[in-house]
Symmetry: C2
Subunit: 335 residues, 2 copies
């Protein structure tokens, strides 16, 4: 079993679990034979969705009836004790039984349980939540998306290093280009913290990424940069505003295209093309926020995604282990 | 000429001016015969676009050759002196020769020149930049969009009062529903300033608006609220992120729908429906940010809009004068 990638999976988090988690694992395993899934949750409920005589070396289940609910606060989640499926998932990282952990459950709880169990990477002050975001050419990594409401210039520098390391782990053939999200592209814009971060990034010589300067909200998807750095308050609002806008527009298109006879015919003819757009904009492709800054990577799958989305998040887990995300961060933080 | 609405218009700001400004005025005048346009700019260049023997009581031009450029800093703009078309436009408000002012020029310059010439409404600490944003049911007013990078809880309360007054001026038959933009909808989320603003808004009894609580970025367009309040940093990034996302998606649709033979045919059939979406999402409908908090309202048209967009901004000018925006704010700020 050596050299296999070991993923700790919380089977009980998110909507429609454990079904979607197990279906996602089976989907993911089709293309990834070098993976061991250390699965934590209710054995009885999990086995329903696995084939009879499943390979217990690949699908290694630890049984627990206790689980974190979406309604738990981070505090009540931590208090539920050490036998919840989420806690055991993270503990598997701490004990070096797994290389990466994933849950589709309660984000706040996952964050707190991860911080309680795992230590920080040396010289990183705060962990950040990063996610993928499509752009005209490929993908952006955007961080922080809500782990830290307030950030100083050191945090923004850490995020630049962690974000570019994550980008290089996911897209090894691309050059990472970092930008700070701001309200203007001129050097004088923004608050003191962002201006100091700009200066520090300009002065830092780092072969791991190049620094582009500031980008505004409307430039995130231009494809000129691919690592967008911001504090958790702004990042969370930017990401969710983009989601809301995308849903709004797609719904407008949908209802207009089927609102009358011509619309219906035309949509039918154009079915293949619309499917192509849908595939490109499919949020399941971008599913999986990554909590980085701790000694092991923790992936948060969207609670409402389906098994395809969950399988994509497992791909993210595999890539960041294969391409040594944590080691990349450690190599770059002290440069 | 009494009882007519007097709009001070900077004819020289923005792309393709004064043509688009004058064309916009002529378009706007078709539906608004009770308006006087006090136009400031290069008489010779302006008159090219007006009909011969135009009515000088309606199109009242003050000639000046000097103008603010988009490349001017706020400081260099202020230094250019008191005979620029923008300065004269704002001065016309100060002198009570106009009820409202509009420019498609340099935003930073307009902001500074307005603040130099006009006094604040009593008990409002900072002016804010507000704009319209479509939602599922109608429109939102969103503010601040970048006038104030840092805001305290008093500012957010002022923005709530000003934003709801603006909303009621633009949509008199609707009830204004205020929300604070935040990273979660629970009472405990966000930073200290936003939590204090939440408390103050909950405690304030105000028949002018109801308070909904927090909204997240993905809820801005749901239509459950219509006045979205935030600091200028977050608001600017949210608005521009929404713009960028909308452009990205619409371009994806466009290129997919015409990328092959079937797409082309289908788009042709569906032309009318697509036009309907385009009309609903047309940014020209939302053109015109409003600088509020000063003793007179100043409207900023987008620099790159065309004459239709400029005409829509003139409609905004007319509505906020007709429905006494400034008086509404004054009535509500001390309640």
């Amino acid at each position: 079993m050596q050299n296999k990638i070991k993923i700790a999976v919380d089977a009980m988090g998110g909507e429609n679990s454990p079904k979607k988690v197990i279906d996602g694992i089976l989907e993911n395993y089709k293309e990834n034979k070098d993976v061991v899934y250390n699965i934590f949750g209710d054995l009885e409920k999990i086995e329903i969705f696995l084939p009879k005589n499943y390979n217990k070396d690949v699908f290694n289940i630890t049984n627990t009836k206790n689980k974190i609910l979406d309604t738990d606060t981070p505090l009540s989640a931590a208090k539920k004790g050490k036998d919840t499926s989420m806690w055991l998932t993270i503990k598997s990282l701490k004990d070096n039984d797994s290389d990466v952990a994933i849950s589709a459950g309660n984000t706040g709880a996952l964050f707190v349980i991860s911080k309680l169990n795992l230590s920080m990477i040396e010289n990183i002050d705060k962990p950040a939540l990063a996610a993928l975001w499509p752009n005209k050419k490929n993908f952006n990594v955007v961080l922080d998306l809500g782990a830290n409401i307030e950030c100083n210039e050191k945090n923004l520098m850490d995020f630049s290093i962690m974000g570019s390391s994550l980008f290089k782990s996911l897209f090894p053939t691309y050059q990472a280009v970092v930008a700070l999200l701001n309200v203007g592209s001129e050097e004088l814009k923004g608050n003191d913290i962002i201006k100091k971060a700009y200066q520090n990034l300009q002065n830092k010589k780092n072969e791991n990424f190049s620094f582009h300067g500031y980008v505004e909200g409307n430039q995130i998807m231009d494809g000129n940069v691919n690592v967008v750095v911001t504090d958790g308050f702004t990042g969370n609002i930017a990401l969710k505003t983009a989601e809301g806008t995308a849903n709004f527009i797609i719904n407008e298109f949908k209802s207009s295209m089927t609102s009358n006879f011509f619309g219906k015919i035309s949509s039918l003819i154009n079915f293949r093309n619309l499917k192509k757009v849908k595939r490109k904009l499919d949020p399941r492709l971008y599913n999986g926020a990554i909590l980085i800054g701790l000694n092991s990577p923790v992936v948060k799958s969207h609670g409402s995604t389906d098994y395809i989305g969950f399988s994509h998040s497992l791909n993210v887990c595999i890539k960041i282990v294969k391409n040594s995300l944590i080691q990349k961060i450690k190599d770059n933080i002290n440069k």
